[in-house]
């Protein structure tokens, strides 16, 4: 998948540890409810950051805000120094901020290869004339690159299968492969290992580390605590739309407020 290309891209742009994503007072109201409330999120280049919190804490809303699917009520989002608060989804992707979806959102009726080809959309030299007069369906270099991405994510043998026929775990990985094809600088993964067994989730988290080692910064939402603690270098905890705590996995997992938020919610459930 153009390993060198990705690496050189990140090296030439900026020294590592520079701030890639920064939100300031990010807020989103749904009616009277503040789903996300004055969140200041900072992600440095080359990090793997986890965003966790009990159900309804505002994690997915956060992702939707960052990727431009919904507009914030207040606050700003800066990506690589540029204000992207008001951009539409396809414009956000163009700047290198690519997301995946919580559920297995795939193009179910297309093959694995076609799914990834669509991820390459941005980098395609598409034109009406080309479509009309070219004898090949897809430019061979794009097909080759899509195959590389499939190879990298371990899906090479599934290239010609329809997405809907793939096992659940492979479907989730295909979602990541598509996002990778769009050449992200920051990858937002929404629950990448949910519904996977130990073996599968271990493999996906290893993949996430490899992706980071190749120069892509990762911000992920996940409920599987083992996966989060084992992969992320820094964790941000949200609760009721607000930042509750922030720090290394060890710091966060011993933080009294975090324990209360999780256990408190659990106790309330048990009683109610």
């Amino acid at each position: 998948m153009g390993e060198e290309r990705i690496r050189s891209q990140s090296e030439s742009r900026r020294v590592s540890s520079a701030l890639l994503l920064e939100t300031h007072g990010l807020t989103r109201h749904f009616g009277g409810l503040a789903a996300v409330n004055r969140v200041d999120l900072r992600v440095a280049e080359g990090e793997i950051v986890g965003l966790i919190g009990p159900n309804g804490a505002g994690k997915t809303t956060c992702f939707n805000l960052l990727s431009g699917f919904i507009r914030p009520t207040a606050g700003t989002i800066r990506f690589d120094g540029e204000d992207i608060t008001r951009l539409r989804p396809h414009q956000v992707v163009k700047r290198g901020l690519v997301r995946t979806f919580q559920l297995t959102t795939l193009f179910q009726e297309l093959t694995g290869l076609e799914n990834v080809l669509l991820g390459l959309h941005l980098h395609s030299r598409r034109s009406l004339g080309r479509a009309l007069f070219s004898r090949r369906r897809f430019p061979p270099d794009e097909v080759a690159r899509s195959r590389e991405v499939l190879e990298f994510t371990g899906l090479a043998s599934q290239a010609d299968q329809l997405a809907r026929n793939l096992p659940h775990g492979h479907q989730r990985v295909l979602g990541i492969a598509m996002a990778l094809a769009a050449r992200p600088r920051l990858l937002l993964l929404d629950e990448p290992v949910t519904g996977m067994n130990l073996d599968e989730s271990g493999r996906v988290m290893a993949l996430v580390k490899t992706i980071r080692d190749r120069g892509v910064t990762v911000l992920l939402v996940e409920h599987n605590m083992k996966a989060v603690m084992g992969t992320c270098e820094r964790i941000v905890v949200l609760n009721f739309g607000q930042t509750l705590a922030e720090g290394s996995p060890a710091e966060v997992s011993t933080n009294a407020k975090v324990i209360e938020a999780y256990l408190g919610a659990g106790l309330a459930h048990a009683r109610g």
């Binding site: 396809h90 992707v93 179910q108 669509l118 479509a131 598509m178």
Partner: protein
């Protein structure tokens, strides 16, 4: 299988070339209209693939038909130019309608298109000085190519055949390119397409305008072939028929609308213009939904499956496994 398909297509092509020699003027007339319907049905497909239910395609045919007819009749513009102008005007009108309304989805977009059919019909009906309104626009010149008037029905038949094949070739090339893949992706999961950098608003608009353009082509040919335009012809009924061609033929493959349009317009020929026509189309649609949800194009596969199913269960698991 592939060889069989190519063979069938070649035989079909030869038969279509020979229709004017074998059949009389009646068949020539009927088939030329079938070709127009095929253009209309196929040109609706890009929009449908994007997931936009357009129940107003006849309006764009009407725009192309009136524009081309008026240019040729009043200004003596040659057919090639008037047809192109009609098609371009249809695309521009498509842009004007599509730009504000394509962000609506599903039934809301469909409602806009239905309303638009009525608007265009009323304009054609009420702008009497230009369109002659309900008296109908007559005296439209026969089509001509490079200054030569195509006087015989047979020559006009070949023009229709050529226009249809050209339209299908262009639409097929586009659909099988990356552009077609993007249309499919928008139809399947538009949020995912967006998250991969697809500007869905622009692509929906492009697919819509493309369809309007070819509906305009069909309209222009129709105007110079029938040589009489009557506003209610391009009403809601024709718009739904174009949609029914797509569903009865099958939405899953490029051949769907072609098969649907050819099959239904040939079969409904005895009822044309009578009240039974509507009944015929409704029954066709109902039967398809009930028994062949994938449309007529899935029929050979279903039949093969039935035969396969019997013999395959005997010795091996299904070929898919």
């Amino acid at each position: 299988m592939r060889r069989l398909r190519v063979g069938v297509l070649i035989v079909l092509g030869l038969l279509l070339l020979l229709v004017p020699q074998l059949g009389g003027d009646y068949y020539v007339h009927v088939f030329a209209l079938v070709f127009t319907n095929v253009i209309l049905a196929a040109s609706l497909r890009p929009s449908l693939t994007c997931g936009q239910l357009n129940i107003g395609h006849s309006a764009f045919m009407s725009v192309g038909a009136y524009a081309s007819a008026l240019l040729a009749k009043n200004l003596a513009v040659p057919f090639e130019v008037s047809m192109l102008c009609g098609a371009l005007l249809a695309a521009v009108v498509g842009l004007a309608i599509g730009y504000p309304s394509l962000r609506l989805r599903g039934v809301y977009f469909a409602m806009v298109t239905v309303a638009f059919v009525e608007v265009i019909r009323l304009i054609a009906q009420l702008w009497v000085p230009l369109t002659r309104g309900m008296s109908g626009l007559s005296g439209i010149p026969k089509p001509n190519l490079l200054g030569v008037t195509l006087a015989t029905k047979a020559s006009q038949y070949y023009l229709a055949l050529f226009l249809m094949l050209l339209t299908l070739l262009i639409l097929w090339k586009l659909e099988s390119s990356r552009l077609g893949l993007i249309w499919k992706s928008i139809g399947m999961a538009d949020n995912l397409a967006q998250s991969l950098g697809v500007n869905i608003a622009n692509h929906k608009l492009l697919a819509f305008m493309l369809g309007c353009f070819f509906a305009g082509v069909a309209g222009a040919f129709y105007a110079h072939f029938i040589r009489f335009l009557f506003p209610p012809e391009f009403g809601f009924l024709m718009a739904t028929n174009i949609l029914v061609y797509n569903y009865v033929g099958g939405r899953g493959h490029f051949a769907g609308p072609i098969v649907g349009a050819a099959f239904l317009s040939l079969l409904s020929e005895p009822f044309r213009g009578s009240a039974y026509e509507t009944i015929f189309f409704s029954i066709a649609m109902l039967l398809t939904i009930l028994f062949l949800p994938g449309g007529l194009i899935t029929l050979p596969g279903k039949l093969a499956e039935l035969r396969w199913g019997k013999s395959a269960s005997a010795h091996s698991p299904s070929p898919a496994a």
